[in-house]
Symmetry: C2
Amino acid sequence: MSTPTYDELASTWTRLHHLGHLQSIAGWDQAANMPPKGVEARAAAMAEMAALLHRMRTDPKLPDQLARAEQEPLSDPQRANLREMRREWRLSNALPESLVQRQQLATSRCEHAWRTQRPANDWAGFVANFREVLAIGREEAALLSAETGLRKYDAMMDRFEPGMTSARLDAIFGDVRQWLPGLVQRVMAKQADEKVVQPAGPFPIEKQRALCEQAMRLLGFDFEAGRLDVSAHPFCGGVPEDVRMTTRFRDDEFLGSLMGTVHETGHGRYEQNLPRDWLGQPLANARSMALHESQSLSFEMQLGAHPGFVKHLAPLVAAAFERQPAFEPANLYRLMTRVKPGLIRVDADEVTYAAHIILRYEIERPLVEGEIEPEDIPALWDAKMKELLGLDTRGNFKDGPLQDVHWPEALFGYFPCYSLGAMYAAQWFAAMRRGIPDLDIRINRGDFAVVFDWLRENIWSQASRWSTDDLARRASGEALNPAHFRAHLEKRYL
Amino acid sequence: MSTPTYDELASTWTRLHHLGHLQSIAGWDQAANMPPKGVEARAAAMAEMAALLHRMRTDPKLPDQLARAEQEPLSDPQRANLREMRREWRLSNALPESLVQRQQLATSRCEHAWRTQRPANDWAGFVANFREVLAIGREEAALLSAETGLRKYDAMMDRFEPGMTSARLDAIFGDVRQWLPGLVQRVMAKQADEKVVQPAGPFPIEKQRALCEQAMRLLGFDFEAGRLDVSAHPFCGGVPEDVRMTTRFRDDEFLGSLMGTVHETGHGRYEQNLPRDWLGQPLANARSMALHESQSLSFEMQLGAHPGFVKHLAPLVAAAFERQPAFEPANLYRLMTRVKPGLIRVDADEVTYAAHIILRYEIERPLVEGEIEPEDIPALWDAKMKELLGLDTRGNFKDGPLQDVHWPEALFGYFPCYSLGAMYAAQWFAAMRRGIPDLDIRINRGDFAVVFDWLRENIWSQASRWSTDDLARRASGEALNPAHFRAHLEKRYL
């Protein structure tokens, strides 16, 4: 069957994929390798490429091509691919270039100042810049809302998590809100008597690096199609054919790097196992940010903190450093599952993490929709930290609303993906246990392939073939159901 | 004064520079980092970018813009910049795209087969592929010759070394041919009684790496604007703002990596010191390949093998490894200046190196011009190796005409740049000694800045402002004069 216009679109997207490859690798290089004096030239090169890709995605020929291709006799996957092309087209064309430029200037000014304002606890200074970031963010939300028909905040979130709405989130997080503070208290009471031996450092960086690579091998990362390097902020970049993961090391602590690497390995394997036949087409992209996070958290929390996995990880830890009592599997497991409310999101344990996200969601949604102003944030932050985690954060802006880079960078609508990812991960493992009754026995035996095979079949290979809800239903029999997350926490921690 | 068309051209070249930046970094990454399964995706991405840059350089608007800009009231540097733009335009537009594609296929097939044919000593197999590479190379030479009015070989060489001709080369190499074999014999006789202590390994790679970085610092490399990594074939890549040098290590030998790094540092400092105000414009590019080589050889041979430099390098070597007699400055100097005819160009010493180049030049010129055929190469190779270096190479193709990647890759006309670079380097140091009578005393004292300052003022900062001949005249009072090279060798080695 002849699909000439669809084919033209497909080759446009292949070109975007090839040029995006260079952008990804240069982005990784910037974080992992680039010396300081390279900054300006790299920024100019990246901006040139971004402008070029933007011109390709806003080519005036595209709307007509998309409309004509929709009339062609397409296969189901082609039709899904076309749906994703239209989605990308809509996202690229919704915003006038002048807004994009103003936003880049405002976020870059705000983010740059934030780097010193945070350590200086300078909330007033931050708000002076943030006001403009927010104003432009609200303009963006209004335009995206007009384009999609979604509520303003939902339209922002849709960029990262298509199909998710604040109505659903209100229900999901509203439920978690009810039981989480009580659960935290019960877990802490239970853990109060536990003896936990702290590992004694130092832990030489080279040994940590080798240990991280061993953990990645244990988790099936393909080193022929990727690598591990160091950057200030760990991430998983590169391209599906060549995944570039990063971590960071300190010599007085190793568990943070190790489990951070396990986390990024989940992102990495998702990317490495996207469907090869479709690479370059939007159909082959990871489904969404929550789905991506569901993979990193499947690796870090569901599998990585599973006693059966820890049993196999512990000997590698003991072999990497001098043997010590802290490295006994049972103790390592206790270290990895210790629950303690704290002020900092990125340091939070699996149980209290959701509280940090709910708090941010409950602030950024009304903020984007104009119901509150930046001045209102500190009081809301204090009240919610008290309510959710029983912590006093008054006057401590640097460990409060100044702790994250997301708001200075105008990434409104992103935070929920983290907790949605944790919920999906729990849902995947619940489905796995239904389908593979001896799952835990096999994990205890070190047969992790059973997990990877399930994820490959149900998540990785499906890429963007279905909407998130359909993907979840096909994989687990139901759309997102946070009850699995609660059940997981109660089972593991009570 | 209004120069609207020139300004348009300048911004086109700035865009080329920015996109070329990503291409350079991805090229470096490919050699230094990329895992094996990244090959195909990277090749596709690089080809996409090459096609994009080619489209920009063959934009049908350019000829008219170049002609109109030439009528605008330009400053002298702008006019020089426009001259270089026209040169780049001519090189990009001289060849039809079909030829470029056929050439890419033929060279990639030939080069790929060569990797196994060389170790297998399979000359006949090589010729089967090389015949097509040569046929396309001759087509290319004919087109470039028609475009430039130069002889065919000269038109090929002009891509790398603008302004150089085979008439000049015949005179230059004809002269060297007369005295070189005799000089080699005299040096060998002189060195026959010298006692040279060989260093005893192993030399741990991490210590070698640190030593190489120390040598780079001694040579003024700016690590804030570049780095040293490892690749199979050392090179100097990246961009002027962020120079990416590579080396390779073996643990039984350190001098090769160390002096290779000193060599690449010469390339690196040239790039790091190109005129900042003009970066992105062709005026700011390095002048030519021979000029580039003159910088690496100024570093490796003129300065790097200078007894005054070796005196300051030796303690770093002794500190990097266990102290041993081989690391005494006088012995290290003897190791670095040992002359011994050998079959392999890249392993050749400073004196015999030129023989390898003359041999290749005397074969590739008639080859390109259709005076000889690939079948004729082995006999010519054997005769010339005998004549120039007294070595028998019969039947040993792998250490003979199969040893270099240049011919399989159709880089005809490149080889002379290596020896021209050595000659220019000698000429720069002769000029330096005339201008700075205590040059050697200062080098002995460790004051290398005197060398760098001269090179910065006369070579690096001049970039492509002048033709090579004019640059040489402004720097040293005369165009290329190979007498300085001979004098340098006789002074150092007799």
